[in-house]
Subunit: 371 residues, 2 copies
């Protein structure tokens, strides 16, 4: 078990892309897309052996709080930090850093998205341990980059600078910059050059990220300082009415920006950002097509959960609920059956589910997008 | 209203091709595939104005009797003739002829399948009236042929012989022969030559068809005579135990053949079969693809019943039940949602639903094929 270390699981996502399984009250991290366990449960199961349940925090928004507590009863109530609204990742991570610093001013924290897929927890743990040592040893920010397995255009890429040997000989790099969602051609070039996928997993001391926010994002830092003053060295869980009011006020005030934009790009340019190369399977599970890639397939590329039969069909993904789903002579489809709605989409267009949800609202089917 | 005339609606079909809507206990004639009314209800609604409900008979098998009575309460109980088992059309039509002859030895009868689609009841009635007059005037068998609207390969074709003017100037022909389910090329040739679709609608005197059965199909005729003797001039509805036993015994004995094979082909060769050319829209609704052709389409060729949205999709057929069905970026699909099972099939392969049903049984999903 790591000492003076916290896992901070970021569980704010909406997951409109997983309609009809995901709904505002039932976001992606609560879905059992890849196994019998929800994505957040898988995440917690990966972190608790490393950090312990006492030191595993979850940051979420009010509307998901109760569902998350039910889903992960292993974590104590005081480990849930509730944001008054979703403000993108920089305020969220800043708030989590205040909580960690209040508990242990010298602690290192690992920021972990709640809804990612990591099939090999052993390799993941080794990489995370290395990143914790690296973050502890200097005053640097550490991002875990993933060695790409194919030129994905939906991800951001980390451009590697000077290489050095990290803890235990893990390959590490200074970060030269980032490239968000490249074209197909550009993605292929990035993969050839050894750039890494930006996983959204970061490791640093709470004190370091707060320092970096002061340096690179003063408006957020000022809001965080006002919150910190209101905390009076207590945690953020079960906040007093006055603390809650301060957090709410500062959340309305803070710029809604990502940690990448608020800090990492600038820290990279200032030579304060390192990347540790993770060589484990990973995906952000960003669409039905991504889920299809990750699930085990039958001999014809079909995958699914529930009761289904892919007769004379190939490359399909099926989620059935109580009903039997029978495919006949079809190809490249996503079929998702829920209690009140059913999606049948072309696999290669599963990124457009968000648009479909908007169209449903326009057509008077809004109630099927919220329940 | 026609006098000395009976409609005999043949309602024995299983309709495996309409799984998952059709099940053994819920065959095609009971489905509401094309409107809010079941196919048999539509059929009865077409015939009752012509024949009256007293003179509209339904022939079915025991397992469908109760569902049919519920579906068409307008017909009296004694108008349902129940076969002990499905024996193909020759025994069925022979049995109906016995019932009609018992009621009115001189009556003409129109054989009408329960599960066909006729969008223009007016034109249909005119053709049927013509056929009744034609069948009454001589000792001939009359089949209603349909002028084809395209070269369908799933139908049988009537090869026309000498033309003559039928009642009211309707074009009629001697029948030279039949061609079952031609190849695509052959179907195109048949259409060019003016051959007619064999609709399975026939008109003749009860006495004529019984005579023809004696001549061309003696084993069936002998069984029918034994049944007729047991009837003692009473009808077949509410049969006595002894009559029921005779029918059951003869049904086990009779060859299970179609009326086309048992009588019509031979009657045609003997110059005793006439065809009246019907120029009304008609389909045997033989597959989901056929249903798709008949339903009104949106601007992109999508059709359906229930709650559905065809977003960026075309040429699809959707039957939804309670759920909302949302399509995204798909084409040429049949989607049929039922309480316990869901079919997603390629439109052009919807003839293979029968195979799918067999596969479901092999895979242990038999219960979804029967309920």
């Amino acid at each position: 078990m790591e000492r003076h270390a916290y896992a901070v699981i970021i569980a704010g996502g909406k997951g409109t892309r997983f309609w009809p399984l995901s709904r505002p009250q039932h976001p992606k991290q609560l879905l059992k897309i890849l196994s019998g366990k929800s994505l957040i449960r898988e995440t917690v199961d990966r972190t608790v052996p490393l950090f312990g349940s006492r030191n595993t925090l979850v940051v979420t928004v009010a509307e998901h709080y109760h569902a998350l507590r039910r889903e992960i009863p292993v974590l104590p109530e005081r480990n849930f930090v509730v944001e008054p609204q979703g403000n993108n990742t920089a305020p969220c991570i800043g708030l989590a850093a205040l909580e960690v610093a209040a508990r242990d001013p010298d602690a290192v924290m690992a920021i972990l998205p709640a809804d990612h897929w990591v099939p090999d927890p052993g390799s993941f743990s080794r990489a995370l341990r290395g990143a914790l040592r690296l973050a502890r040893s200097g005053g640097s920010l550490v991002t875990i980059g993933i060695r790409p397995s194919y030129p994905e255009t939906g991800y951001g890429y980390i451009l590697k600078g000077k290489r050095f040997k990290g803890p235990g000989g893990v390959p590490c790099y200074r970060v030269n910059g980032f490239k968000e969602k490249p074209t197909r051609q550009r993605a292929a070039l990035l993969v050839r050059r050894g750039s890494l996928w930006n996983s959204g997993m970061f490791v640093w001391k709470a004190s370091t990220i707060l320092e970096m926010l002061r340096r690179f994002s003063p408006p957020i830092a000022r809001s965080l300082e006002r919150i910190q003053t209101a905390m009076r060295d207590k945690g953020l869980a079960n906040p007093s009415a006055s603390l809650r009011a301060v957090v709410r006020r500062e959340y309305r005030r803070m710029p809604k920006v990502s940690i990448d934009y608020a800090v990492l790009e600038k820290a990279g340019a200032a030579g304060r950002l390192l990347a540790l190369e993770g060589r484990f399977g990973w995906s952000d599970v960003g669409s039905w097509a991504a889920a299809h890639r990750m699930l085990p397939h039958d001999g014809k590329g079909n995958a699914g959960l529930g009761k289904w039969l892919g007769f004379k069909s190939k490359d399909c993904l099926v989620y059935s609920r109580d009903r039997l789903v029978a495919l006949l002579g079809v190809q490249g489809l996503v079929v998702v059956d829920t209690e009140d709605a059913l999606l049948i989409a072309a696999m290669e267009r599963s990124q457009e589910v968000r648009e479909l949800v908007e169209e449903l609202k326009r057509r008077g089917y809004g109630r099927y997008t919220v329940r």
